[in-house]
């Protein structure tokens, strides 16, 4: 079973978020890491391969520093990595990101399974998996908290607020997993040392046959016009109970559309 896991390099949420002059997220000059939600996808892939056979390839689309995300995945146990890096990708939206990822997955070879996280921890749109599946012509089993691969099919459970759905698709397929699916391992010393010797390929848009005009800020379907810091939270309203406390509380909740 050959698995490709899409992993994103995101700014460390602990640090301050900064933006470039063109209103894009600053990904180059901040501390970044492997999006935590993608660790679950890597772990899920490793578990499947460890229980049987095959290879796990991780792929990222991102700036030079995104190599760190690949390194972490390799330390966890992935076999090889692909880094798609090209100046022209800067400012790409989800549509373009999924295009580049799709071409990368094709070039890696036809995997039995493509795994992604639930959503990135910075963009948080959760749309790349669906777009990628469409582009690859694969069935999509998204947002599952369990994953079982057997006899050419993949099964998973998607937990909603009211119901849980059991999903099944034939392989090859694309699956996005939630943070409920497993407990991602932390790299051991052996993993850290072994990762140094694992192959990492870096591809440009030209290597993928993607026209630079299809990606990047100018090709994005949406444009960020401006951004502003969220204003500090205002102090809450303190109601002194003079016999009408309950009424005031109900009025407040109604005004906020809670009741």
């Amino acid at each position: 079973m050959n698995i490709v896991v899409c992993v994103k390099y995101v700014p460390d949420a602990q640090g301050d978020r900064t933006f470039n002059e063109d209103n894009t997220t600053d990904r180059a000059n901040v501390d970044g890491l492997l999006s935590e939600l993608d660790e679950y996808a890597v772990e899920a892939a490793l578990k499947i391969v460890e229980a049987g056979e095959g290879e796990v390839t991780v792929v990222t689309v991102g700036p030079e520093q995104a190599a760190d995300a690949l390194k972490k995945a390799l330390q966890m146990g992935a076999d090889k990595a692909v880094h798609v890096s090209d100046e022209a990708i800067h400012g790409s939206d989800a549509v373009a990101t999924s295009l580049v990822l799709a071409e990368a997955v094709k070039k890696i070879g036809s995997p039995d399974l493509v795994l992604t996280g639930l959503s990135s921890t910075d963009g948080t749109m959760s749309v790349v998996p669906a777009m990628l599946a469409e582009r690859l012509g694969l069935p999509q089993v998204t947002q599952v908290s369990t994953l079982e691969v057997a006899d050419g099919t993949v099964k998973g459970r998607r937990d909603g607020d009211a119901v849980s759905e059991s999903l099944e698709a034939s392989l090859p397929a694309l699956v996005s997993v939630t943070d409920q699916i497993n407990e991602p391992r932390y790299p051991s010393f052996k993993g850290i040392m072994a990762a140094k010797k694992k192959p990492v390929e870096t591809w440009s848009l030209a290597d993928l046959g993607v026209d630079a005009g299809q990606v990047g800020l100018d090709a994005a379907w949406t444009k960020v016009e401006s951004f502003a810091q969220r204003p500090p939270r205002e102090q809450g309203e303190i109601v002194t109970d003079e016999g009408d406390g309950g009424t005031k509380l109900a009025e407040f909740l109604a005004a906020q559309k809670f009741v």
Partner: protein, 391 residues
């Protein structure tokens, strides 16, 4: 005026002295400590009970046990990397670092350096994986700094050896699967690999310690413990054996002590920034800043010394006197820092809500074991003057 505070690491630009691999490994250990030690350590210290077997298994999975040894399932990393791992472990707790020191540098090292191929095959892979725990019995009730006086005897009986005696203050004693025990023979001191289920071997725990409470300490009682000829460590005779192993563990302490100190100082700085006294933050008083500055200097110098000694050890040129320099300086400064930090936290400083008094108390043991400060002063004194002042 307020500026952007710098970290202790930035102040000394230590990061530039550390290689990528070393940093990655240290980070992995720090993560382990954050996840597995910090959330529980106050309780372990308070109750004096630590899940040693579970922790050993997890440390084995991470790759820490015997990480500086080659082969037999060990990671084969450099001495400096081992030191940095000790620093992270001891930033968690000296007791956890002790577990690792005793396993890797005392028990495993002795078998690795002095053992037969058969002994190495039998014990090292399991100990590296954390499936077997080791302890190291040198100290006796009446002989600590002067182990040469030991009373534990190993006598030949046909092909067998029979051991009798008592060892004291033995870390991991009650949880160990194997004890490396040093005993006087008719000729020289020899080391023995003793499975702890051998009849006649027992290990009562030493209770009511006020230091290193998150570490198991035991007495080892050997009553007619009969061992086959193959149990003796063949490759070493005399005190050179245990002292060689102690030098290994001591090396880890040079880094480890700075980890405990770092944790105290980081705690004290953040506490001082938050704590308001007489209408402003404790950190903004000159007296506090003088304390913090002085402690930062000793911490940074100690870390630089540790790294320097690490490079010397990796180049194979380090001497026992140099290890003594590091052990004496860094344990002494670490305990001074811990106590000074305690004053900054004042009453909060005496509780287990903060790590400071725990580190300070632990460091009392660290100051004493692996050669007391006085013994290291004597080693350095002898190196400087040529005159031996031990007796």
């Amino acid at each position: 005026m307020r500026g952007m505070p710098q970290s202790l690491e930035q102040l000394f630009a230590l990061d530039g002295l550390i290689q990528d691999d070393e940093r990655e490994i240290a980070k992995a250990v720090r993560h382990f400590v954050d996840e597995r030690v910090r959330p529980h350590i106050a309780e372990w210290f308070d109750t004096g009970e630590v899940p040693a077997r579970e922790l050993t298994k997890e440390l084995g999975e991470l790759g820490v046990l015997g990480m500086h040894l080659d082969g037999y399932g060990c990671a084969g990393l450099s001495a400096t990397t081992y030191g940095l791992a000790c620093q992270e472990l001891e930033a968690g707790d000296s007791g956890i670092r002790s577990l690792v020191s005793v396993q890797g540098s005392l028990a495993m090292y002795s078998i690795h350096a002095y053992g037969s191929e058969e002994q190495k095959q039998e014990w090292l892979p399991r100990m590296a994986a954390g499936d077997a725990i080791g302890c190291f019995g040198l100290t006796e009730p009446d002989f600590g700094s002067n182990p040469g006086g030991m009373r534990t005897r190993a006598k030949k009986d046909g092909e067998d050896w029979v051991l009798n005696g008592t060892k004291m203050w033995i870390t991991n004693g009650t949880v160990a699967d194997v004890a490396v025990v040093w005993a006087q023979t008719d000729e020289k001191v020899r080391g023995f690999v003793v499975p702890t289920d051998t009849p006649g071997f027992s290990a009562p725990e030493i209770k009511r310690k006020m230091s290193l409470r998150a570490s198991v300490t035991a007495e080892l009682v050997l009553e007619d413990v009969r061992l086959p000829a193959s149990a003796v460590l063949p490759e070493v005779q005399g005190l050179r054996g245990p002292l060689g192993a102690l030098s290994e563990a001591r090396f880890g302490i040079i880094f480890g002590a700075m980890g405990a100190a770092r944790d105290c100082l980081e705690t004290a700085i953040s506490y001082a920034q938050d704590r308001q006294v007489f209408d402003k933050s404790l950190a903004s008083y000159q007296l506090t800043q003088a304390k913090l500055a002085d402690m930062a200097l000793e911490l940074g110098k100690g870390q630089l010394l540790a790294l320097h000694l690490g490079r010397l050890k990796d180049s194979g040129t380090i001497t026992p006197e140099q290890v003594s320099v590091g052990k004496l300086n860094n344990t002494r400064e670490a305990i001074a820092i811990a106590r000074q930090c305690r004053t900054i936290l004042a009453a909060n400083g005496i509780t287990l809500e903060y790590p400071v008094i725990r580190h300070a108390n632990n460091l009392e043991s660290v100051l004493t074991y692996e050669g007391t400060s006085e013994v290291h002063q004597l080693v350095i004194g002898k190196a400087l003057t040529g005159a031996e002042a031990f007796r």
